[in-house]
Subunit: 266 residues, 2 copies
């Protein structure tokens, strides 16, 4: 299945430039100076300066005087937004996420199924004061996220084992699932309930509830998930919220002219 060596970067200078972007994006809020960047990358200041100038030209990086210090640029916001808007799943899901967020008061996200891993592409924050990091665009761990479990539940058991092997079932909190047998039991529960739960398995104090989304082939193309703080949650609400999230996930599936899969269960 794997075609060629995946990490065979071809254009070295472009790769180095993109590493700079990564550095700046993850850098401190005040920005990075040229010397700092040159030092951490072990490259000459002149080379870094030339690359930064190009990145600034294209808006990937912006420089602020005096200093100058370098910060992430507006083009990143622009292209990120364009990418999310162009995605048909995101376009369909957005108003539905807004509605679910309003009804539940929680932060709602929609993830795309990328090889069994959830990648969140869109988010609608709830009206609450509490905020937490719910990043977009990153490949999340499938076994400690509700969206991940919802997606896994639609795979065959052998595929689940493959994904589990790939991510290593690393532990994130005391409650994280770390063995295949535990995972299989959990998935069986998800298949029965129709929705998945992450009960502080990724981040302490945070829970998520997720449900799968399907295309017109009945293939699971992603999931919706709702995120909240654990202390606000009573056991009675779990089932209510689960049904609610499932209802809205089904709405997305409908809008995509999709249909829920009759699970093969190979």
């Amino acid at each position: 299945m794997l075609k060629a060596d995946p990490s065979a970067t071809q254009v070295v200078s472009v790769a180095r430039a993109l590493e700079l972007v990564e550095l700046v994006v993850h850098g401190p809020d005040e920005g990075l100076s040229l010397a700092e960047i040159a030092r951490t990358t072990n490259r000459s200041k002149s080379a870094i300066l030339a690359t930064l100038r190009t990145l600034v030209d294209f808006g990937y990086v912006r420089s602020i005087e005096p200093g100058p210090k370098y910060l992430p640029g507006m083009t990143l916001i622009r292209f990120g937004d364009l990418t999310a808007v162009k995605d048909p799943l995101g376009a369909i899901a957005r108003p539905i996420l807004t509605e679910l967020s309003g009804e539940s008061g929680l932060t709602i996200r929609v993830a795309r199924n990328v090889g069994g891993f959830p990648v969140f592409i869109e988010r609608v924050d709830g009206p609450g004061v509490v905020r937490f990091h719910t990043p977009l665009g990153a490949r999340e761990l499938p076994h400690v996220s509700s969206a991940g479990k919802a997606i896994l539940a639609e795979l065959s058991d052998s595929e689940i084992r493959e994904v589990a092997r790939e991510c290593g079932l690393v532990s994130r909190t005391k409650k994280s699932i770390t063995t295949v047998s535990e995972l299989m039991a959990e998935i069986e529960k998800v298949r029965h309930d129709g929705f998945a739960i992450d009960d502080e398995e990724d981040v302490q104090g945070i829970y998520c509830i997720g449900a799968a989304i399907f295309d017109h082939f009945g293939k699971c193309i992603g999931a919706i998930s709702a995120t909240g703080v654990r202390r606000d949650l009573t056991p009675a609400q779990v089932n209510r919220l689960g049904k609610l999230v499932m209802k809205y996930a089904d709405q997305v599936t409908d809008q995509l002219h999709g249909r829920k899969s009759v699970r093969g269960g190979k």
Copy 2:
């Protein structure tokens, strides 16, 4: 003020790579093929392939089989989100935008003041069914947007003329302001009211209402704007909405420990 020639790109191969990203981002939803990209850029397929491989490695572009076709990648979403989240203005504004969106039912955005031009960095969609393009990260026209007018109103008259000269006061609809004298009269009204209106001046059928945000120096660092469809708007609502948007803008200013400027009016 302008330091050096702005469009002096330094690293050609990086620039070419970023042009590729731009091409893919603005490309069709089904994606672009290698041959198509090579044709439209007048470059060899081999060079394009090498660059695309690098971009795919870093997630700026993703390739889907069969074809393969090339589409915008998840890293764009990830970095765009990170950039917006890191921005202190965006971080402060987000929950307030959510609240205002809930109270008004409109789409709310917050823009940063970039040299007199508004650049929107964050958006919260309203619960309505109607959707429209409210892009993020792009430098918008100041004279046909409410956020732009709200920002302009905090500049000196000579600075406004400078910005007007820079953007050329291009017309977008029949109602667009196209002369400096019209603009000055409009700005004077904004200064009196405390909020700005875009009444179908940018897009037919769409109106916006905006109000400025200040830092602790009293400098205008951006603006909030609410967007809706014109037909839903009664004249009585304009004033009510204006006051509402202004109230929430002031909340953002407060959270930033800012204070409204005593306008110099040079």
